[in-house]
Each structure stands twice: as C-alpha cells, then as structure tokens.
Symmetry: D3
Subunit: 144 residues, 6 copies
C-alpha cells in the first residue's frame, strides 16, 4: 500500500475484488455506466472495491451483512439489493441467514422495508433455484 | 390478554384483524412470503395486526391516518401504500380525506413524496371506481 | 378564496391559524427565523398554515395524526415533533392517543424512530404536567 | 408583490414559471393530477413555482443544482428526478455538470443513490439524443 | 414455541435476552419508558428481543453487524447506535470490526452517516477505555 | 492523473483541497477521527477531497449548492451542514444564496428539513458576524 500506483493499476485491482464479490452483476452495473458516467463506474471499482472492500479488517461475509442492513434501511435501493443478495450468497452467507437478516430488519426499519428487501431476495433466490425455502416456523402458525 | 396463548392462536387472532383492515390485499402479501420467509408473514399477522392493530387506544381510521403519513414520508413504500389506501377506505376514511392527507404531506415531506403518494392513491381509486373525484378548488385555478 | 388578497393579508390569516394550532411554540419558531430567513417564516405562516392547514377537508386532529406519523418517520425532526405533540394536545388528541400513535409507528418505521418520538412526547408531557401516564398493559408484563 | 392577487392569477403566474423551467414534463404531472388531486396540482404550480421558483435570489441553474442534490439524496424520487434532469438541461446546465453533480453525490449519499440518479439521467439523455457522453477519465482506467 | 405462554412469561423471556445482548443500556431504555409508554417498553422486550433476537438462524454477532448497518443508514438514531455499539462489543465483535463496519458504510450511505456513526463509537469506546485504537493505515497518510 | 502516486501523496493532495474548501472546520473533523478511525479521516481527505472535489467539471460553488441540497435532504447531518455552510461561504456563495437554497428545499424536502438547515445556517452566520440579514420580503408580511 505504500507503493506508488497508477489510476489504471488501481482500477485493475478493484475490478478483481468486484468480480470476486459481486460476480457478473457488478460488471453489468459498471458496463451500464460506460456511456453516461464512466467515472462513476471507475470509482465503484477502484475506490469502493479496490480500497474499501479489500481491507482485511472485516470478512467478506461480514461486509455483506452490514451491506444488507444498510440497503434495506435506505429504501429505494432494490437494484443494489439485488446485486448484494447475490454477493451475499457468493461470499458464503446461506439463504437462511440472508432471509433472517431481513426479518431482523423489521425491528429497526419497520415492516415495509423488511418486506421490500425480502421480496427482492425472493426474486434472486428464484433466479438461482433456491425456492422454496423450508422454514421451521411454518408448522405452528404460518400461512397454509 | 393475561391468558396463555399458543403461537397458532396468536396467528389466528391476528389473521382476523388483518382481514378486517387490509382485506384481500393483506392476505396476498402474506401468501407471497410463503416460499421465502413464512416467519415474516407470521410476524406481520401475529404481531403487527394481532398485537398492535388490535389495541383499542386508537380507532382503526386514526391508525390509517398515521400509517398513510408514515408510508408517504418513508418513500419507496408504494406497494405498502397501495395496501393501506385500500385499508383506509375499508375502515371508513373517505377518498377526500385520503387525498387531503397526502396534500397535507407536502408541508412536511415536500412535493415529491406527496406526488408519489397521490399517484398511488390514483391507482387504487381507479381500481375501485372512485375516479374522477370532484374538488372544490378546481374552478378558480386548477388545470382545465 | 376567489377574492384578491395581498401578501400581508395572507400572512395575517395564516398567523391566526398557526396560533390556534401550534400556540406559542409556532410563534417561537417564526420569531427565531426573523434575523436569518424571514421569508421562510412567512411561508410557514402564509402557505403551510394559511393555505394548507385552513382547508376543511381534514379535521385539525386528523391533520395532527398524519403529521405525527410523518415527523416520526422522517427522523431527525425532534424540534418539529415537540411543536406538534403540543399541537396535537391543543386540537383535541388525548395523551393516550398520541402515545399510541407512536407505538403504532414501530410497525412501519421500526423501534428507533418510535423510541425517539416517544421520548419527545415524554418531554412535552412532562412540561405540561401530564406524567406519569397510566397504561393498562403494565400489570401483566411492563417493567416494575 | 404587495398588490392583491386572486387564486387564479397566482395560478397563471406559476404556470408560466413552471413551463419555462420544467417544460412539457411539468405540465404532464399537473395534468395527471386533474382527476385525483387538482389542489395538489394547483399548489405545485401556484406555490412551488409561482412563489418559490420565481424569487430572484437564486439563479434557475443554481436552483436545479440544489434540486438535483435533494432528489438524489431523498431516494425513491426517480419520476421527479427525471423531470428535473430535463429542467436542469432547460435552464442551462450542461450534461457534464449534471453527471458530475451525481458523481459528487456519492460522497454524501453513497453509491446506491448516485447510481440510481445517474441511470435516471441516462434515460433522459438517451431520450434527448445526448448519449454517449465523452468523459476524459475513461482512457486511463474506465471500462473498455 | 408451540406451548401456550402468557404475556408476562413472554416479557420475562425477552428481558433475559435483552439483558444478555444490550446489558444495562437496554434496561435503561425500558425504564425510561415506564411513565410514558410502558407498552412500548413491553414490545421492545417481549417482541424485539423475546421473539426476534432469540431466533437461532443468525448469530448474535451477525445480528449486531446488520443492526449497526441499519442504524448508521437510518440516521438520527445516535441514542440507539450507542446502545448497539455496546451490544456489539458485548456479543463479541471487536472494536476494529465495529469501526471497519462504519468505514464500510461510507460506500453505501455516504460520509456524513459514516462520520456520525464513528463519532458515536468514539463516545462508547472512550467510556469503556478502548481509546486510542491503533490503525495500521496511519503511518502512510493519516493525520499527524 | 496517469502518473503513479503513493497513498501519502494522495493524502497530501487531498489535504490541500480540503483546506481550501472547508478551512479549519474540515481539519477539525479529521483530527477528531485520529484516535478512533484514522482510515476514515484518510478517506475523507484522499478520496472525497483529493479525487472527487478536485475534478474540474463542476465549480466549487456549484459543488456546495449540490452539497447543501443533499445534507438538507438527508436530515440528521447538522454537524456536516455546519461545515458546509462555512465551506459555501469560503468558495463564494453569498449568505443570501445559502439561505435561499434552504428556503427552496422546503419545496422538495418539506419544512422540517428546511427549518433545521436554516437554523444551522443561523448558527454559522452568527459565528461569522453575518447576522442579522436583511430580507426584502420582510416589509409586507414577515414577523415584526
């Protein structure tokens, strides 16, 4: 980190981190920015992923737990939440943990935010063949 | 309330309250959660409606006034606002009162939130055959 | 409303509405703006209260229910919430109804917003000699 | 401003300001309100544009910079942001300045809000034939 | 969970969970509600902690990571963030992990939210004798 | 920008930009982070100011207009707003323009956010000897 780096080198480093966390969904966002704001794409890659995500002080799965909490709370971030539900699965969180994090969000953000996040997870899980989930709570009081 | 209840009993009680307030729209939300987070559906029913909505300290119409204010202010809650515009009509608020509450919201939340809420009401009112509304302000300065 | 009015006349009309709803707390806000943004004070009075609050389509108590919901949901509006807890009492909402509206907000905004609003109500109620409140729920499970 | 005006006169004045800033997009919003809340349309026109926008203390382009910042930060205001990206172009901000304002927003609102705003600008720019934009940063580190 | 429970039993169970996670800070919040909204205190204890926090699908430390993300993103929740920085330490997150989660939040919520959260952590860490922290990044570019 | 730079060089560059925009208020924030999160201070300096603020596509005064809009809209950012009211004055916005931007915010964010921002400006203006401001609107309808 004390070595001199060029802007292009920082981009290359960030792109590797982005790919490892977000997979093709992250690349699609950056590609979508190419004709309107390539600099925003550059900063997502070089700064957000190259500088922040690559720090070792928090494990990738832990970063996604924090990120799911933030995106749920902010509201109106369904496109980004979709990317990060995928990212959460990519870095080792289980479907149950993701759904539980969104259930937990009802306590702090209220039910509308928890519902919007959960329906975003439903969309991603469906695309990845992860539905239906089993849930131990269903027998004694869930819907039939 | 001092009697012992089971989880299933609390669900049954909450479901009756949910149905009386939200009608089929509330049931549709709970059904949509069945394969992804039945526990979230359970908590909407058992806690939000069974515990909170069933308290007598605030009349059902008053709860919906507070709820319309919150959902408008939060932003990004159009699906929930749609459910609760229906709920507001179900529990006795008039179309004029609902539209006026959203007009009032411009003072505290600004026009974008007021506009988004009002266009959500327009969708629901249209589905229920409540359009066009008359409005006494139109003659002296509304659009033609 | 079809008659011609001057800016000063609209201010005078709005000030009467403001005084009837917010009492001295509203006047204090307007006075505090005199040396920094008298125009903001003018618009609070002439537009928010003179135009919006004076419309008959929603009763004053109903406007305060919507307003309490919005201010709770927005967060960071404790000074305005303090004014409007007072306003809510002024226009006929009971302490129980105000506290219940804030309890209800936990469902839609989560507990942090509900707590901040409730502690603001506690401050206002204390200033008006309305504490402690009795609460029927206490015997079977509230704190001792 | 000290002269007496009627409600209809204030509407006519505001409509001229609205048309000059927002163009046909603003008119479409007001028209869409005609059957649900003509009074909300009246207040957008008469108060927001007639009273606030017409004040000389801030240039139209400066008002749009502030407005783009607010709409980006609020989140969930994509319909309004679409209107105001058009408005920003109408009052003389360049495409580069608009995109840069949204890039700048990442610092204060985070990347999800910046991304949502930028993709809204992309939609408007596409409709107005302003894509692709050139960006000097691309050569040394943007996506290929 | 299929057994019948009374309201008082659910409170007792929740209180044990609250105490184990939040320690005396959680109890202080509930005590502060006793004279204004004991029912809100009851629901924090019985529902938030007794029902939601006690579910095994997410480890206590993982719940706090999500919670720190939400409270940082919501803004205006400094009192709750203070409780949960303490809670995060209580359930095994290290000071470095907490500070890193808040640094990470700058990517999604922007710097103002990240700064407010970090200064709240500073207050709690100071009270618990955890300052100054060492940070490996300081030598090559932090402030002197 | 295509040249290789070290982390320390990027910090030095950013610090010069920070000092030119925020003055001593920015430095105080960075200093306050030294014992809790020097990395957050580093990123404020190196990335926010060194990378983003130093881009020529938007004039410094224009950046502050966008920033004032965002901080007002976000809410709960009074400490940052205080820094940026100072910054706005430093880069050439007049007191009238700053106050007008906050008045304008009432249209998009509602009055509570506009009031909180304006009272923050009042504090800063008072510290800099800029009060009372004259305001042409006062004669015909402002408070006495």
């Amino acid at each position: 980190m004390t070595d001199a780096t060029t802007r292009a080198q920082r981009y290359t480093h960030g792109r590797a981190v982005l790919d490892s966390v977000d997979g093709s969904a992250g690349a699609a966002v950056v590609d979508g920015l190419a004709d309107i704001s390539p600099e925003l794409g550059h900063q997502v890659v070089s700064w957000a992923f190259g500088e922040m995500y690559s720090r070792p002080a928090l494990a990738p799965r832990d970063r996604q737990l924090v990120t799911l909490g933030m995106l749920t709370a902010l509201g109106g971030c369904e496109p980004q939440l979709e990317v990060h539900v995928n990212a959460a699965l990519n870095v080792g969180l289980s479907p149950d943990q993701i759904v539980e994090a969104m259930l937990h969000s009802a306590v702090y953000c209220g039910f509308p935010r928890a519902l919007n996040a959960t329906f975003t997870a439903k969309k991603v899980f469906g695309e990845r063949g992860l539905l239906p989930r089993s849930d131990s709570a269903a027998p004694d009081g869930g819907p039939q």
